[in-house]
């Protein structure tokens, strides 16, 4: 076989090119530590997702500056949305799908993975500066694919917390009875937090300072005299930092039915913290019938 000298030269150059490409990629992997999404995680059941990571998709702190974000993708939303993490943190995303193949891609970055039902994508990412990133699904997932988006907020250290607020009170009380408003505050950070729980009801504002250890839950109960409020509907709001939970209590002369007691317990707002992004619920919740977060209580629907 006779090959022209120039062509031999080109053959060598082509091989150099190929080996150079492979070498660059290898340098990125070994030298810079760029890791591929792989098979690190075990498989899951996409229609159940009831393990502690995905039954309640959220951000959790696992080390001093280390966080884990459990994310589910479903037609046509991400949960949680938005995802909030602090600056200077190392965040490991665990992303899985409840239905079809999606992707989880932070726009303008190299954080990008396919989200395949049954598989969990693991990506560790370092966030330095406060910033905000759009999240898109870049794999076609159905007729509203183009509406599937989310946000990741990287917030300054002092604005970041992992506080979960859940407040409960009876929905209806008889005039003269006490109204117990119970605020359950969970601190999901590893370090203790000092904060103030505030209740506003009628014209009254009461507050209590609390210290909650890392990973602990604090219950604060405010007792309000219904007689002072008078008959009628009264809106109450519990505030902890910038988390609020709000509902209405009815003070009546006589309770209509005795079963009101049972309802009252459940009539707490489930979507703590979700006040400003209630919209995404429309798409998201349809598929979630299997999760613990059931919305079985019709009266507890997001009235606002």
């Amino acid at each position: 076989m006779n090959i022209h000298t120039y062509e031999k030269l080109w053959l060598v150059a082509a091989m150099v090119l190929i080996v150079g490409f492979i070498a660059t990629i290898t340098y990125g992997s070994v030298g810079l530590g760029i890791t591929m999404v792989g098979d690190q995680q075990d498989t899951v059941e996409p229609t159940e997702l009831d393990d502690e990571r995905f039954s309640d998709p959220r951000v959790a702190q696992v080390g001093e500056n280390e966080y884990e974000a459990y994310v589910t993708a479903q037609m046509f939303s991400f949960q949680p949305d938005p995802i909030e993490v602090p600056e200077d943190s190392e965040v490991t995303f665990y992303v899985t799908s409840r239905d079809v193949i999606h992707s989880f891609s932070l726009v303008g970055t190299n954080v990008n993975t396919m989200v395949i039902p049954g598989e969990v994508a693991e990506m560790t990412v370092e966030f330095d500066e406060p910033d905000e990133y759009g999240v898109v699904c870049n794999e076609y997932c159905g007729p509203n694919h183009h509406n599937m988006e989310g946000m990741v907020y990287v917030v300054p250290e002092d604005e970041f917390d992992l506080t979960e607020l859940d407040a409960e009170a009876p929905g209806e009380v008889e005039t003269g009875d006490d109204i117990d408003v119970t605020a359950t505050v969970e601190n999901r950070l590893l370090d203790p937090i000092e904060t103030t729980v505030t209740l506003e009801i009628g014209n009254e504002t009461v507050s209590e300072d609390v210290t909650i250890d890392g990973g602990e839950t604090d219950e604060t109960t405010f007792t309000v005299d219904s007689a002072q409020l008078g008959e009628g509907d009264h809106e109450w709001t519990v505030t902890v930092d910038d988390h609020t939970d709000s509902w209405t209590v009815t003070v009546a002369d006589e309770l209509e039915d005795d079963d009101a007691d049972d309802d009252a317990d459940e009539e707490s707002n489930e979507n703590t913290d979700a006040g400003d992004d209630a919209d995404d619920g429309e798409n998201g919740t349809e598929d979630e019938t299997d999760t613990d977060e059931t919305e079985s209580d019709a009266s507890g629907g997001d009235g606002e």
Binding site: L9, L17, G33, I34, Q40, V44, D50, M123, D128
Partner: protein
Amino acid sequence: MSQTAEHEASNETSEHVREIGHDEFDPIGTLTLIGIYFLILVFLWFFMYFVEFLGNDPTVVSGTLVFLATGARSA
């Protein structure tokens, strides 16, 4: 260069002005063109990898190989 004939005529409808056999043909023009292509490829590769890609932080870095004990709960 082994090109000898320096006939100056180029027209797409013209017939061959000469026959060039295998041994007398040195594809120096091809080497020139493909050399330029090679340089473009090398330059663009470095540009794409080290400027566009690595400059597009954040990037997925060495994931902690911690397996969550809670893993999958199969049916």
